[in-house]
């Protein structure tokens, strides 16, 4: 059953790579307006939540938002990308700004791959409650939400490209 959701996530990341295809490097960290996140920031947001949910290591063995205990490390895993208002209020770091579109996309895919390694090793019963995901929510709900979360923000990456004047083949 886990395989069903792993396939959905694979499909999500296929679309992520499409959203980055042909992206101008000078547009990676540009916010199209003062109230909308850049593509790099959206990638950081996707990466942050996937890593802390599946590779964050709390004392009870569940996931945790504390990046210091996260088993995946990356410049994209930064607290500033955790929550939209916090991201808007904080500019990307110099290290972030030096990353090209290809580097951001590659890093996002690497984080996903590593996070999935931990999930597969955990091999959760999808009927069981997911740690730090609400008392009534099961792992299956969490996996469905993560797929939604990636897809939702991938669609926004296309919107940013449109607003910056790009015309990617997909939309």
């Amino acid at each position: 059953m886990l395989d069903t959701y792993l396939k959905a996530l694979d499909l999500c990341y296929f679309e992520v790579t499409e959203a980055f295809r042909g992206l101008a490097d000078e547009h990676v960290w540009v916010r199209p307006t003062s109230t909308l996140l850049s593509i790099g920031e959206l990638a950081g947001h996707i990466a942050y939540w996937e890593a802390v949910r599946f590779a964050g290591e709390a004392e009870d063995g569940g996931s945790e938002r504390d990046l210091s205990t996260c088993k995946v490390k990356s410049p994209l895993l930064d607290p500033r990308f955790g929550y939209f208002p916090m991201t808007l209020a904080t500019s990307p770091s110099e290290e972030h700004l030096a990353m090209s579109g290809e580097q951001v996309c590659s890093e996002l895919l690497r984080i996903h791959k590593e996070a999935m390694t931990y999930l597969v090793a955990l091999n959760p019963n999808l009927e069981n409650p997911a740690p730090h995901w609400g008392p009534q929510s099961k792992y299956e709900d969490l996996l469905r939400y993560v797929a939604f979360h990636i897809a939702y923000h991938t669609g926004q990456m296309y919107s940013v490209r449109h607003l910056l004047g790009e015309t990617p083949p997909d939309n």
């Binding site: 059953m1 069903t4 499909l11 939702y152 607003l163 939309n171």
Partner: protein, 161 residues
């Protein structure tokens, strides 16, 4: 118990995904003001009307294939744009509701075995479960875009949580 190998209820998962995606999309559509539906922000973005028309077209096309009907020829040549009559919020929301209800009825009508059975498409052999997954993800992508349109209009609320 190896949960990787436990049996999945494909019909339940497919319907749950579609209902969830359609519900979020509809809430975001309803949260948009009338004037948002034809706004392309100075020619830079697709309009909400374009997005909804494309979502409906994709779902209608997939639905025809799933039902074994001969699908219409997919319009090639760039991004899909809405027809002239697709103008008001009421018309667009109603069209989305009709299209999504038709897909849900289509999936509801299949036996679980039919959801998993091989399905021939113009891109090769797949199954109805995979087609439902594709439609769900596709609606989710465009839901995120509706959220960006809301933000462009000064609405930073969260309308489906």
């Amino acid at each position: 118990m190896n949960t990787h190998e436990s049996k999945i209820d494909t019909k339940k998962v497919a319907l749950g995904g579609l209902k969830g995606a359609f519900g979020i999309f509809l809430k975001d559509l309803n949260a948009l003001p009338d004037e948002a539906f034809e706004n392309n922000f100075g020619g830079k973005t697709r309009t909400v009307a374009d997005i909804v028309y494309e979502v409906n077209l994709v779902n209608d096309h997939v639905g025809m294939v799933m039902r074994g009907e001969e699908p219409f020829i997919w319009p090639e040549g760039g991004w899909i744009t809405a027809p002239k009559e697709f103008t008001t919020k009421a018309v667009i929301v109603k069209a989305f509701e009709d299209s999504s209800q038709k897909i849900l009825a289509t999936v509801e009508a299949f036996e679980p075995g039919e959801i998993e059975a091989p399905l021939e498409t113009e891109d090769g052999i797949t199954d109805r479960f995979e087609r439902c997954r594709f439609m769900t993800l596709h609606v989710w992508y465009h839901s995120g875009q509706l959220n960006y349109v809301q933000t462009l209009l000064g609405d930073d609320g969260w309308h489906w949580k």
